[in-house]
Amino acid sequence: MDWFNHLNPDLQFVLLSAVKVLAVLFLALLPMVAYSVLAERKISAWIQDRVGPNRVALPLLSGIPFLGSFLTRLGIWQPIADGVKSFLKEDFTPDHVRKIYFWLAPAITLIPAFLTVAVIPFGSTLGAQKMVIADLNVGILYSFGIVSLGVYGIVLAGYASNSKYPFLGGIRSSAQMISYEIAMGMSVVSVFMLVGDLNLSKVIEYQAGTTLGFIPNWLVFKQPVAFVIFLVAAFAETNRLPFDLPESETELVGGYNTEYSSMKFALFFMGEYANMIVSSAMMVTLFFGGWTLPFFGLDQRAESAQWLTGLAHIGIFVAKMLVLMVVFIWVRWMLPRFRYDQLMDLGWRRFIPLALANILATAVVLFLLNK
């Protein structure tokens, strides 16, 4: 590491950021996307009293006695087979599509999900490094801005496909995402009124410690209404059941991705799961205390020598996130789909007034407390 310390600080910063980006993207996000697909298939199977994927076996590893066959039954190699499959399938471009947009749309769906990860603090400190790629002081606004760009991918896919079901899917999704973005943004306002800062690291610091000795200071307990609105809006933003109208199979074939095949389809698929992961990470940060746990002093930043605590913080964050991911998947297989007018009604006539009332109530309480 000697050569590293001789570099000038700017270059050090650039290099470290690049390492963080690559690590988060390739070691965390992409494998998590792959394995959340497996989790979805396994959990749906258990809910419906089936077995789920249990056949894919790797030549050498599956030969290990007991453990090998156990992993195979768990379907642990399934994502590899899925990945290879989507690369090897024929990449078919129908004749009637608008070529440029048809090619761009899958990428545009995936990029915003990856960009949002940049501001999420996924751990305290490891060595001397803060475990967040970009500690912006308008973190939450940045992520809302980028998330709001995610709709372009789906809308363009609908437009580019130049046929009626994808088009309907695209239109539905843009209306749905715009509506629920408002409710989502407003629910977060009351959170930031309590915290007094838009920086996500500050939000986590605010949630350290406990009240009455055992209830964590998490914002989910202080702002339950905001959390419910955010959770429901997150389902709508990620196009998940019960709000998956942009791709509702029973009405629109496959919705916006009807005309897509092979890796381009896989990109849409990955985009959906990446968005779920990012929403869960966002909820953990905003409402569940991020990387903190109120026990054993785990709610304080790790010192530069405490590598173990630093790693534990990352583990806590990931664990909390996985719980929320399971909730996402669980809900999908438990609830039927909303009708489109019900969805709009819920967004505009219920959640937006409720979020506004919540902001007002928070303001009144803060005013009375600070008087």
Partner: protein
Amino acid sequence: MQDILFYIFAALTLFFGFLVVVNPFSRNPVTSAMFLVLTIASLAGLFVLLNAFFLAAVQILVYAGAVMVLFLFVIMLMDIKEEERRRFKKFGVAMGLTAVAGLFGIVAKTIAESGVGAGLKPAFEGDTKTLGTALFSSGQFLLPFEIVSILLLVAMVGVILLSKKDLK
């Protein structure tokens, strides 16, 4: 570094803005709308260089994320083919160029007279807290802020009135 970034973002803004109105390759309204999104994104980059992070984020959030999606929504629903078939008219081009030249003349004259130099000192840095305090302090921008809010409210009510077909 900052200077280079400024020139990059300024050039991108102009380039994309140019492609919004006079794209030589495509007269498709959706393409124009997408280039407008890119223009807005590069403008946000300029805001970041001015340390106005809040403005940059809101620019992306409101214009690129909401307004332009609605634009796209409408364009796609109406499926405008007219624009693709229309040719440039000589008279229209001449008038357009005259207007642009006039505006350019005014701006150039103003810049030349005021003198380009150190630039004005900003009233405050663009971080969220100072911006909020400035907007909501009665001594500073409270009145203009309230007036703009009422204007927006009036516009909103007006749109709802216009789009309602039968008023009872």
